[in-house]
């Protein structure tokens, strides 16, 4: 039997998990599979590739000396390297930790601090939505933002909804109190993330409608940003504060065995994996929360496999392209959205042959990286345009905004299709794809 450094060191409890991440550099055989798979190294000479800045230079970094490198900043932390490594090197995790060191040495730029505080801007902008939205659509303001703080004027920006998902949910509970379920087995926690809360509340509304349609009692406990934007920008202290808050607020549910489900695939990756492997928060509570956390489509597919998913779908006669975000791939669970949506009669999804849309969280918002970001995402635009598709399906928000900017079309979360097939709707959102409601829904099959 072959041992690895990790299992032995773990069993001796001499090193914590965060230190073990660096030790996975030991597994690298320089095969360069990660370098060939890296969507960013392909399009820019500014990034020497994940193997170089990861396991290779990990050996040349001194924990007690200032960070020697800067090209690392061109890593997007998309995580495809970790996914493809045949030897188990946590390449992205090593690189992200090295980025934190870079920030520790040189400080966090105002722009990156700004991008790492998406949660704050979401909250602050909500009461000022019309004005804030006007500003974000204003070319002069965008030009100034690019010159002054370095946020690309070509980067796709969301719009504030003017209300929050949380506020809407509170009103729902007040106006239509839900009966308490008999057992915790019927409960589910919904993690909405910042974007759903302030920019796209319809996704949260559709998600809870689906969960309730399935017959689950939805809880939306207080929560904050998952911390991924801060983490990707190397702001580990900031990311850890967010993460710690979420762990504390979710731990009790996890202890009771209640699943935590979210529609932002990247937030869920952070809670499931990054808290431990990147931020080093590997206490018992963090592990417990991680073990009970699911991406929304992963959870729905799990229910289907357990025979708990109603399949009373109206048909949707459409053929749509689907893009699997990098952060979703990082879950290592396949393409649950394709599995779930294949249950809807008439609906055909085809997966776009592209690694990454190029936005990578906050990467594509940065002026010096915008061109790289667009070059990475270009194959998506090409394939969507060749297919003549106007709607693209994708699980994470920044990827959807990027795809909309690249294609000029619309990008939707898979819950939009699922809700539409179930005949569920919310008052302020009209889906771009409609189900054939004249046809009776297929009978619910419980098997």
């Amino acid at each position: 039997m072959m041992h690895t450094a990790s299992d032995t060191v773990m069993s001796d409890h001499t090193l914590s998990l965060i230190e073990l991440t660096a030790f996975t550099a030991d597994h690298c055989v320089k095969c360069n599979i990660c370098t060939s798979a890296c969507p960013f190294a392909k399009v820019t000479p500014l990034f020497p590739g994940p193997k170089v800045v990861g396991p290779q230079w990990q050996r040349l970094r001194d924990p007690d000396a200032p960070s020697p490198d800067h090209s690392l900043d061109y890593c997007s932390s998309c995580g495809i390297c970790t996914l493809v490594c045949p030897h188990g090197v946590k390449v992205m995790e090593i690189n992200t930790q090295a980025k934190a060191k870079l920030v520790e040495t040189h400080g966090l730029s105002l722009r990156n601090w700004f991008l790492a505080r998406n949660e704050l801007w979401g909250r602050l902008g909500t009461p000022l939505a019309p004005l804030a939205n006007f500003a974000l659509r204003n070319r002069l303001v965008r030009w100034a933002a690019e010159k002054v703080i370095g946020v690309s004027r070509r980067a796709p920006m969301p719009g504030w909804a003017g209300y929050t998902f949380r506020g809407w949910w509170q009103r729902q509970l007040r106006d239509h109190p839900r009966p308490e379920p008999v057992s915790d087995a019927d409960r589910v926690v919904y993690f909405h993330g910042c974007s759903t809360n302030t920019y796209e509340p319809h996704i949260g509304k559709l998600a809870v409608a689906i969960l309730e349609h399935i017959g689950l009692h939805v809880e939306v406990p207080p929560q904050t940003c998952c911390g991924l934007p801060a983490q990707s920008n190397g702001d580990f202290p900031g990311a850890r504060r967010y993460a710690q808050t979420n762990i504390e607020r979710l731990a009790d549910y996890a202890r009771r065995g209640i699943p935590i489900v979210g529609t932002a695939a990247s937030c869920m990756t952070a809670i499931k994996g990054d808290y431990q492997h990147v931020l080093g928060l590997d206490g018992a509570e963090a592990r417990l929360v991680a073990a009970h956390t699911y991406d929304f489509m992963e959870f729905v597919w799990k229910l289907h496999q357990e025979g708990r998913l109603p399949t009373d779908f109206h048909p949707i006669h459409q053929e749509l392209p689907y893009h699997a975000p990098c952060q979703l791939k990082a879950h290592g669970f396949g393409r649950p959205a394709l599995d779930v949506l294949s249950l809807i009669p008439g609906l055909k999804l085809w997966e776009i042959d592209a690694d990454c849309c190029g936005i990578a969280g906050t990467y594509g918002f940065k002026v010096e990286k915008r061109e790289i970001s667009e070059a990475v995402g270009w194959p998506i635009a090409q394939q969507v345009q060749e297919a003549g598709a106007e709607v693209v399906v994708c699980d994470t928000e920044t990827c959807r905004w990027q795809i909309q900017a690249l294609t000029g079309g619309t990008a939707i979360h898979p819950v939009v299709l699922l809700a539409e097939a179930y005949g569920l709707s919310v008052d302020d959102y009209r889906p771009p794809v409609r189900a054939d409601k004249r046809r009776a829904p297929a009978p619910t099959g419980v098997w």
């Binding site: 060191v9 055989v29 020497p48 050996r59 020697p68 800067h70």
Partner: protein, 539 residues
Amino acid sequence: METTSVDVLVVGGGATGAAAAYDLARRGVRVLLVDQNDLTTGTSGRYHGLLHSGGRYVITDFDTAVECITENMILRRIAPFAIEDTGGLFVATSQDPDDFPARWAAACARAGIAAEALTPEQARALEPALTRDITAVYRVPDASCDSFDLNHGFITAARTYGGDAWIYQRVTGFLTDGDAVVGAELEDTRTGERRRVHAACVLNATGPWAGVVAGLVGLDVKIRLDRGSMVAMNIRWVNTIVNRLRPPSDGDILVPVGTVCVLGTTSIRTEDPADTHVDVSEVSTLLREADVVVPGIRHGRALRAWAGVRPLYEPPAELAQLESGHNVSRRFAVIDHTERDGLRGLVTVVGGKLTTCRLMAEQAVDVVCRQLGVAARCTTADEPLPVPETSPRHYHQLTHRVHRLEHGEMPGALICECEVVTRPQLEARIAAYGDQPVALDDLRRDLRLGMGPCQAGFCGYRAAGILHAAKGLSPGEATRALSAFVGERFRGVRPLLYGHQLRQFYLDELIYRRTLGLDALLALDQPQPEGVSDAGSEA
């Protein structure tokens, strides 16, 4: 036959010979150093990297301990470019004799070695990978040392004072005149070309070969050859040197040097000065012993194993009674053959440690100068060595190379990705050899080419292409150069064919054997009937 005349011929390009050449040159003596290989290819190059504080010898060999701490402080002062001040720890666990630490600390105090007692918690705060089972721990002024850089430092300094060094020149015989040695005959081990060097005195500083070299004029110099193996781990598990606090035995040290952590050493008697093979059992011993102080390390990635031959000197009568080489004195001896054998013009220096190389050179050169009638005194401890041309590399400063590469100071294509060597660096080094032949292994010692985790798996063929273009090699010559290099690299991986490095080796083998068909290419082009790769692996 080409003939050269100097005052002193130093035979042996290890640390002692190089320090002696520098010492002689500083005293105004015309000196030439020769080595049968490249510089630093014998015991000095097969070194663990520990610049001793003396703590390891303080109980068994007090005088050597005192010499170590004195020379340690001198080398830090004169060769800072080759030394990283890691500091050292002596760690006792519950497996070690419990009366030892107190005796050891008392002896350190007598020897002048600053040994500061730490609590186990303090030690673990310094080195989190240390075991929880610590019964006593002290901090000492150990350091890690790059012997290649140190040697280049001595040679560069010798040259600035008018000395010179020739490599790949084997002494095939001595020139004698009556009862005096008056020079030596040399053979170029690459071209077979023969030369003659006239010298008023020859200094035999050939380490394990000292007996063989003295035998060329019929003298009997007995040294005890003691093979010690080492294993380099892929990463620096510790950033401070860790010594076992117990009587000297196998697997006592962990040395962070450059990018790696060296586990050392074993002690096995051998009769052959070229016996540098490593037994798999030695690797197991080193990993097992290191694992006692750094739990988990035995499952980490081992990069390479190698062995060096210690030339231990002890008066012959005592030799037979001793069981283990660990107990034989690390002291050195300067043999003036005038007194001992009635032969003038030859001095032999044997024994010692890399840490005491400057002192050995000083005492040997004192004897040489007495024979020459030179009154100048040794001044090598007085001022810093010039930084050698090859050494702004600062390899012992982990972050230096990445910093230079990232800040545009090392332009051009990256050839050795593991150890960060660029194409212009390779081309400049090849050019520095002028008309002389260059082996890829020479470039390895100059630039650390191929010394990283993949052990030349990827840079070997790239560097061979560059060498081929720069030197105008024939395809056959380029193939043999590549084969010799990868053969030598793989030699050091062979005792480690398990786990991580087995996977690496398999990939490397697929690249060289299956994809490039190196074996088949060699078979196609065979000007030398005997096995080319075997000859290469000895180079």
